[in-house]
Amino acid sequence: MRPLSISALRRLLPALALLTIAQVAASVWFTVSSDREHDTVLELFAVLVIGCSFAGAGLFAWWRRSENIVGPLMFLTGFFWFFNVWVLSDSAGIFALGYILSSLSYAFLIHLLLVFPEGRLETRLERVVVAGGYFVVTVLQLSSALLIDPALNGCEGCPENPLLITENPDLYDIHNALQSVLAIAVLTGLVVALVRRWRTWPQSRRRAFAPVLWAGGLSLTLISLQLAVDVLGAPEGVRQAIFLAALVPFALIPFAFLAGLLRSRISRAEAVGALVAGLSTSAEGRGLRDALAEALSDDSVELAYWVPETGGYVDADGARLELPGEGDPRLWAEVTHDGRRVGAIVHAGRLDDAAELVQTIASAAGLRMENERLDAELRARLEDLRASRARIVEAGYRERRRVERDLHDGAQQRLLALGLNLKLARSRLEEDPAEAGELLDEATAELEQATAELRELARGIHPGLLTDRGLVPALEALASRAPVPVALTAEVDQRPAAGVEAAAYFLVSEALANVAKHAEAGRASVRVIQSNGWLTVEVLDDGRGGADPDGSGLTGLADRVAALDGSFSVADHDGGGTIVRASIPLG
């Protein structure tokens, strides 16, 4: 699980609960002790029901989904809602505090609606709306507090505003209109963002979480309507009526949230139950992945199948797959069968209980996934085999081109020059025997060179010594020609099949050529051991190491060994240098 500071704050929950109780007591006291004319029962009812339900549901959600910001936001919405009755206080300081802090509830609610239920803002519009909301209730509310004179704004009996810096009702009216217009813009943006979000949701999710969005969207729309009629100068009664109407859906939000949580859990539990039951009865039908995606309401679900041979994961098509690592927001759960690893389920981990559900499914899916794993492993092997076969064919063509080029550029040109020299010598034989003699000497030298080049070329195609005398004498000859001293250890009792001999010979030949070209080595050793039906070949040097296993020469060797069902590896040796090793079955 990713460490999140919100998770750490969970320890504060009991203290926050106590703080809420204190807030309730203070709010009740400010309401009942107020000298001003107000409807105590209505005010208390609205504040206590909304404040307590938000704060309570928020604390529950915070405790249950400690990594999700939804809980904290819901708590903050409720907690700051209580400040609405602080303005009833006869104390000027408490009145001012209530005026400034009560609006924060709206910004927390906007934030809450936009991150619900995953706890993340997804789009630029959502981020702008949330930032706009916070701006209106902090910066603008604070500056409003510096300008409002309660007595001039229909609050008779309110204490004087201790923060008032200028008694200029026009300035306040302009500020108020500006703040209201901006708030309406933010709330309109919120509705647009919520509709967009809603449209991306699958049916099951809409069913579970719609009540929260409907209640939240409706109450904030009514509040923006109230702001609009206020700016337009509608009578106080109309404003008040709209505000009271807005409180009804507002109060329902926490309950809708809890109901949605319950509904989604029930529907998901049903889906998981059906999935698990389906797994044990039938291996037919839809793929495991699709069933999982549906059960988890997560289209990004991926299945990774374990391939013990390579020590890695592949997807259903046999292509290599990496599990999410550090910094990847996705999560994964290992799937085992009879104590053996068979794969992993990679998921977005967006839902609070996704990890638990995946774990439940993972334990039930072992057998089914083991079967799919075998398929995937087979496909991976076929894929490797196909690639290796293509590389062998390509290597064959490349080899033919090399032989043609070597013949053309080497021996053929020497023989052509030799032919010309012989013809010239023949024509000069009588006129100038000495020059003819020189030409014949040159021709002889060219002939020797051409013969040597042809010998080298033939050895590269297939060494005669290997065919005639077998692997060990051919390797001895190879070692004696190597540019660095080579210690050869060979324990080969019987001659292996020609293909195995050739693979072993060319492995040593290529490895020693690499030692000479790249390794900066002082010496090398070659071990060829025949034992228990396997021929093991090792070439070790004392050079700088760091050989590239994907270099074309080494890939060609790996393919050659793989074609014989053998294994091949290139690695840095513990004691320095590079070790190339192959094991090839003899039978």
């Binding site: 053309h408 040109q413 052509l416 032919g419 010239l424």
Partner: protein, 117 residues
């Protein structure tokens, strides 16, 4: 006056033998080049009467050398040479604009005369 020749071939041993054969046959080898681009440059500098151009060269082939030489105007007579036989090259020699072709194995002053006649 001896006819001047440029030899363009990437194999030094063959160039040396060809020079001897041609000089013994009465030609004067005024320049040698080991690839197509230096062959074009050498032709511009030494202005030979005749250029012997190998078909297979490291940078571009003898047909391209022929095209570039002829494009520059005032080109020498061009005879393509190759270790392949004429039949191996299809109609490429015919359409190249070169004066003719001599297989490297048959290179001699007489063979050149036959082509240039």
């Amino acid at each position: 006056m001896k006819r001047t020749v440029l030899i363009v071939d990437d194999h030094a041993g063959f160039r040396a033998s060809a020079r001897r054969v041609l000089e013994a046959g009465g030609y004067s080898v005024v320049a040698e080049a080991a690839d197509g681009s230096s062959g074009v440059t050498a032709a511009a500098e030494s202005r030979p009467d005749l250029a012997l151009v190998d078909v297979q060269l490291p940078d571009f082939d003898g047909f391209e050398v022929t095209r570039r030489l002829q494009e520059s105007g005032d080109a020498p007579e061009i005879v393509l040479i190759s270790s392949h036989e004429l039949a191996d090259l299809g109609s490429l020699v015919e359409t190249s604009g070169a004066r003719g072709f001599v297989s490297k194995a048959d290179l001699s002053a007489a063979a050149l005369e036959a082509v240039l006649r």
